[in-house]
């Protein structure tokens, strides 16, 4: 068989040429005569197809049967032939759908279990480092602590105050609407007081910090990890937990209770504004009822949860940061994951605490 190769073998005609090549490949063997004299433009895409059509061996010996070809084309064809002349990689095995779904479920469950173990381990490591550092004031990172207190605490005051204020007003409105049917609008005061002291103050502050600071911790430590800075800290003989985690955890432990207190005050203020403007309850009356009906224990129950939430939020944020591997995409994934986990853990712990306090009658 004789084959004459003519025209432009370029990327622009790749699809059509490739179909021709697949059709003709089987019909070309060692005895076929090939003529390249009519060949027009040639680029790497076309050269690749020519190599596929004629086979790498024939291209390797191209000088013998196509001596008229310019040297640079010879070099291109040879380079492409050498590149293509290697064993084809095995196609990745095609999974089957049902099995893949099962495997995926299995992997996810295993990952949840592994994650919880990692979290417990990390909590242990953090506490251990904290205990080792406490008796040595020279190793306290006060500058870093102050920076994180500012970033997680002071900077979050406006948003926490505004949000709890608005939720306080909403709760008061809801209470007023429902209680009005019973002629008991005065109990709106109790509703706002109870809900904010026991639950909403701490919960809203914690959820906001979970979104704000857990993500920041994960992103900060994650980008350090992907930039090998964490490894650099280790090789300098320093402890990343002591340098990076402790200041963040301690800052959260200090700021979340304060933010909780801010949240309680401003939530109650929101309720107060609604009571004064919409329900004709005077501020004096509002505070008299608060002082008479609401024991200080409710405040303590609310505030007592703050350090626990703070610890878990900070630890989850830092742990997700350390789990980042290499790529920038991984930083994003772990940042998202840190927020989801932190909010989940906060609400879970809050539910457990509510049950516990109820059973205890506190």
């Amino acid at each position: 068989m004789r084959a004459r190769i003519v025209g432009d073998w370029t990327l622009a005609h790749y699809a059509a040429l490739r179909r021709e090549v697949q059709r003709l490949r089987a019909r070309i063997d060692e005895r076929s005569q090939i003529e390249l004299s009519g060949l027009g433009a040639l680029d790497t895409a076309g050269a690749g197809l020519l190599v596929e059509l004629l086979g790498p061996e024939r291209i390797a010996a191209i000088e013998a049967w196509a001596p008229q070809l310019p040297a640079e084309r010879l070099a291109l064809l040879r380079t492409v032939a050498t590149a293509l002349d290697q064993p084809d990689a095995a196609e990745p095995p095609r999974g089957y759908e049902f099995g893949d779904v099962l495997a995926h479920i299995g992997r996810t469950v295993a990952a949840v279990w592994k994650q919880q173990r990692a979290l417990l381990g990390f909590i242990g490591l953090t506490l251990q480092t904290l205990l080792l550092t406490l008796p040595r004031p020279r190793r306290w990172r006060l500058t870093s602590l102050a920076v994180h207190i500012e970033q997680t605490g002071l900077d979050a005051v406006p948003i926490v105050a505004l949000l709890t204020f608005l939720v306080g007003a909403v709760v008061a409105f809801l209470g007023a609407t429902v209680l009005a049917d019973f002629g008991a609008t005065i109990y709106t005061v109790n509703l706002v007081g109870f809900s904010f002291l026991r639950e909403f103050g701490v919960l809203l502050a914690a959820i906001l910090l979970a979104g704000r600071s857990a993500s920041a911790f994960a992103a900060q430590i994650g980008s350090m990890k992907s930039n090998e800075e964490v490894d650099a800290i280790r090789t300098l003989g320093l402890s990343p937990i002591e340098l990076l985690v402790l200041p963040r955890v301690l800052a959260m432990l200090i700021t979340l209770p304060i933010l909780t207190f801010v949240g309680m005050l401003s939530g109650i203020a929101g309720g107060l504004v609604v009571c004064v403007l919409a329900l004709d309850i005077s501020p004096t009356m509002f505070f008299t009822i608060m002082a008479r009906d609401i024991a200080v224990s409710h405040f303590l129950v609310g505030l007592g949860k703050a350090p626990v939430f703070a610890f878990i939020i900070a630890v989850i944020g830092c742990l997700e940061g350390f789990k980042v591997s290499g790529s920038a995409q991984s930083v994003g994934e772990h940042t998202t994951s840190s927020v989801v986990q932190a909010i989940f853990m906060v609400i879970l712990l809050d539910a457990i605490a509510a049950l516990f306090f109820m059973e205890m009658g506190w």
Binding site: T44, L76, V80, L84, S325
Partner: protein
């Protein structure tokens, strides 16, 4: 091979970052079919120059004309057509992390050459092989690869559309000497066969001596000299002397001489 018509003309380029001036009245031509090596100390703005030429950075003053047109003044559609004639290899590869290697290379082929996915990935595997990657790397993701392999894959993506101008930002940094030599050879072969022009930012003296037609030296905020290597070497300037006649420069020169004889 080298003809004198300038494909890219940089005139009076000024780039400032805040109060720091990186380029001040820089002129440079890139001619059709040549391999232009750009050298300069750290922080002399080699990468900034590259970014200004491909239109990623708007220079504070001056003009950059590419194929006779100013990229920054073109309409979006026209600009995209011009950019298709570029291939850019970034310093750290800049592969898309969410795509595997063959998808990375196939992306421009699908978007611009209008190939179907199957054809595009077939061609992408050829480009990866050309860049010196083994066949089993095609389905790997960038974060599973070493730095050198990322570089090769990025070269394969830069070559995907057989561009007319290839911009390479330190292509051989992080490659082993064998890989770097093969890389140089590949660039040379492609230039000869396809008439590419290559803008090559490099610190690799071997690359300079082996494949560059002209060398431009960036120093003191402008192009000090841009000419054949012999002329550049002979230029009377302290930095150039240290660069080309220091121990590494001499070794690379001898190696290149040996190769030629």
């Amino acid at each position: 091979m080298t003809s004198d018509d300038a494909l890219i003309q940089v005139r009076g380029l000024v780039n400032r970052f805040g109060s720091q001036t990186v380029h001040d009245g820089l002129d440079l031509d890139i001619r059709r079919g040549e391999i232009l090596g750009v050298v300069g100390g750290s922080g002399t703005g080699k990468s900034v120059l590259l970014r200004s030429i491909v239109g990623l950075r708007r220079p504070n003053e001056g003009s950059v004309s590419v194929f006779g047109e100013n990229l920054l003044e073109l309409s979006a559609e026209r600009r995209s057509q011009v950019e298709r004639r570029f291939g850019v290899l970034f310093q750290r590869g800049a592969l898309f992390t969410s795509l595997n290697l063959q998808e990375n290379v196939a992306l421009p082929l699908i978007e611009h050459a209008g190939l179907e996915r199957r054809d595009a990935e077939h061609l992408a595997r050829l480009k990866l092989a050309l860049a010196g990657l083994p066949a089993n790397a095609a389905c790997k993701y960038p974060d599973e690869l070493s730095g050198g392999m990322v570089k090769r894959a990025a070269l394969a993506r830069a070559l995907a559309l057989d561009p007319e101008v290839l911009f390479l930002d330190e292509p051989t940094a992080g490659l082993d000497p064998i890989g770097a030599a093969a890389f140089d050879q590949l660039i040379l072969t492609l230039r000869d066969a396809l008439g590419l022009s290559v803008f090559l930012v490099t610190h690799d003296l071997d690359t300079l001596y082996t494949i560059c037609d002209r060398v431009a030296v960036l120093s003191r905020k402008r192009v000090l000299v841009a000419d054949r290597l012999e002329v550049v070497e002979a230029t009377d300037d302290a930095w150039i002397r240290d660069y080309f006649h220091g121990p590494r420069g001499r070794a690379a020169q001898q190696a290149a001489d040996l190769q030629e004889n």
